[in-house]
């Protein structure tokens, strides 16, 4: 979706990588951003609504990418924090204020707090065990949402009023909601890009690639992992708030296993560690899940399953890997390049 702010660090995270090609990337980013901004002027309400959902989901995918792609912690529980953000934003909308900015901040806080409370169990593990622990966290959250009467239990939470911005009138047109979601999603993307290219981001990649060495160098991997878990929770919470702002309805299905699995799939399809790749993956996955069924008689999951299998064999490094793959042999001949600072 958004290739606007891909950080050089993300591109350089796995040697060998292609050298930056001057102004091509900022220009491509600007073009995509322009297209995304102009979309409501030319498209009708339905595709805009689809794109809004994709943007909100892409924020969740960015949070999974922070953990899985950047830090090497595969997670199947990130939907829990997405759900915490969505439910909190919906509750704020119903009981406090329709102001979308307040809701987004509340979603952020909810994701951050729930991740801080649950993360310390998960970050002690690595690899597939981490995957299973996050799965358990996600399922627990799903159970809570599904059984707690205060948030509508199995029926979900309905009756959220349309969002407003800065005291203005309710935003009822799909295009206005879309623009709000786009602005927040781009801001989150930029923030994540900044984190990824910061010294902290390099610490995280160092943990992913060689944890014992990082510890020997005096870093504290456990603390860094806990930090990124909380951060990813906050990002997922914002995504949930955006999801709620658009749908105005939150149900336990929004934080189920399927959502978490699809988010992880998006990261793998897109290429973990890159930021624009997973966003593209998010668009692909959501389109296959929601828009194919109508045309092929409701067999979306079948197609999605085949996509999963095909991706593993055809795109071992994701969409982002495709772009740098042609340069690989050349660079290997020259030997490994120093990483750019």
């Amino acid at each position: 979706m958004k290739v606007a702010h891909e950080s050089p660090a993300a591109a350089a995270d796995r040697p060998p990588s292609a050298p930056r090609r001057g102004a091509v990337r900022p220009l491509a980013g600007a073009a995509v951003l322009l297209l995304l901004t102009a979309a409501p002027l030319v498209l009708s309400a339905y595709p805009i609504s689809t794109m809004t959902r994709i943007l909100a989901f892409a924020v969740l995918v960015l949070s999974v990418d922070l953990l899985t792609g950047v830090t090497g912690l595969p997670t199947l529980g990130q939907a829990a924090y997405f759900g915490a953000g969505a439910y909190t934003a919906a509750l704020v909308g119903i009981h406090l204020t329709p102001d979308a900015a307040v809701q987004a901040l509340a979603g952020l806080a909810a994701g951050l707090v729930t991740a801080a409370l649950t993360g310390w169990v998960a970050v002690r593990a690595r690899g597939i065990v981490f995957l299973m622990l996050t799965l358990a966290i996600g399922e627990t959250a799903h159970q809570v949402a599904d059984t707690w009467p205060a948030v509508g239990a199995g029926n979900g939470l309905a009756g959220m009023p349309a969002i407003t911005l800065f005291g203005g009138p309710p935003l009822l047109a799909a295009g206005y909601v879309y623009w709000w979601v786009l602005v927040v999603a781009v801001a989150v993307y930029a923030a994540v890009a900044l984190v990824v290219r910061s010294p902290y981001g390099r610490t995280l990649r160092g943990i992913r690639d060689n944890e014992p060495r990082m510890r020997a160098l005096g870093y504290r991997p456990a603390l860094a992992r806990y930090g990124v878990f909380c951060l990813a929770g906050a990002v997922a919470g914002v995504g949930g708030a955006l999801w709620a702002a658009h749908a105005r309805f939150v149900s336990p299905a929004d934080l189920g296993f399927e959502v978490a699995a699809l988010a992880l799939l998006s990261v793998v399809i897109g290429g973990g560690g890159s930021l624009w790749g997973p966003c593209l993956g998010a668009a692909l996955v959501l389109l296959v899940r929601d828009n194919l069924p109508a045309s092929i008689g409701g067999h979306g999951p079948l197609v999605l399953g085949l996509v999963f299998v095909a991706v593993v064999f055809l795109l071992p490094r994701g969409l982002a890997g495709l772009r740098r793959a042609p340069m690989t042999p050349l660079l290997e001949l020259r030997g490994r390049k120093e990483r750019r600072p």
């Binding site: 899985t68 595969p74 169990v121 002690r124 593990a125 690595r126 690899g127 597939i128 065990v129 995957l131 299973m132 622990l133 799965l135 358990a136 399922e139 627990t140 159970q143 809570v144 059984t147 296993f257 699995a261 992880l264 799939l265 793998v268 973990g272 067999h299 999951p301 079948l302 999605l304 399953g305 085949l306 996509v307 999963f308 299998v309 991706v311 593993v312 064999f313 071992p316």
Partner: protein
């Protein structure tokens, strides 16, 4: 009091099924480091074999035929999955691959059998109830408990007393070493994968009269099996057994005491165990990974 005893019997029946399902998952996980997210789908294949053959009871012979057919189908699926996941060395890819296979299998099943919830009747000879402690209890569930005991003893003898078993244990402990001794570990892994998947499918048939068959059950069963594996400890038979019995009890007692929060209790139990023993209760002696 009698209510609790009945509930504990239900827990034992559930534990027996969970053991059959989780065993393969645990061993494959312990040996190959593959998280087989299609394990629940294999279970569902078994459940729908039961729907196709013995939905309204039928005789003991048809039921046995269904068990054998499910075991074969599961073993074939397991072999395919083993081949696929050995072709993709990275964890994340394996998780994705098996998730994809799981989606395809589940969707194919719901295309063939519809989206309805199918209930399955226990085979005619054991469909009735027996009186246990003054309460009528389904005979079929007692048989499932018996099956669980037989399975546990059989697997114990196979794994602890036979040459094949020592090969399996050695492969869980140190795959590289076993391979260096000239054993084709790939074949051992595929065999365990196939056997585990066959057991999961058999579990699907046996669970049919208790849980029925419905879309989405694959996911629930997979999660339960994962919890059993994590609680019990990766890659060990005794761990899978202990985990299965424990989780079966937690679920049965939870359903009796706090029906709304039964599943929540299961994950609570898992969290508690992991807090105290991060590697599970009885992990394989040489942990494959932390």
């Amino acid at each position: 009091m009698a209510t609790y005893l009945v509930s504990m019997l239900n827990g034992l029946a559930m534990g027996a099924l969970l053991f059959a399902i989780a065993l393969g998952l645990s061993l494959v996980f312990g040996m190959m480091d593959v998280l087989n997210l299609a394990h629940g789908a294999v279970y569902l294949v078994g459940a729908y074999v039961a729907v196709a053959l013995v939905a309204d009871g039928g005789g003991a012979l048809t039921f046995v035929a269904a068990v054998l057919l499910a075991a074969g189908a599961g073993a074939v699926l397991g072999t395919v999955l083993a081949g696929l996941s050995r072709a993709t060395p990275r964890h994340l890819d394996q998780a994705l691959l098996t998730l994809g296979v799981s989606l395809v299998v589940a969707e194919a099943l719901s295309m063939a059998f519809g989206d309805d919830v199918h209930s399955i009747t226990a085979p005619a000879p054991v469909a009735g109830g027996v009186t246990v402690l003054g309460q009528t209890y389904p005979l079929y569930r007692l048989l499932v408990i018996g099956f669980g005991v037989l399975l546990a003893v059989g697997v114990h003898v196979l794994v602890e007393r036979s040459r094949l078993g020592s090969l399996i244990r050695a492969t869980v402990a140190d795959r590289g070493m076993v391979s260096a001794l000239g054993v084709n570990t790939g074949r051992v892994l595929t065999g365990v994968f196939a056997a585990g998947a066959g057991l999961a499918a058999v579990g699907g048939v046996l669970a049919g009269p208790i849980l029925g068959a419905a879309p989405g059950l694959d996911e629930k069963v997979l999660l339960l099996a994962l919890v059993v594996v994590v609680v019990g400890g990766l890659g060990s038979v005794r761990g899978a057994l202990l985990g299965a019995v424990l989780i079966g009890q937690v679920q049965a007692l939870g359903t009796t005491l706090l029906p709304e929060y039964a599943s929540f209790l299961i994950f609570g139990a898992m969290g508690l165990v992991l807090l105290l023993r991060p590697a599970g209760l009885l992990p394989a002696r040489t942990a494959v990974h932390a």
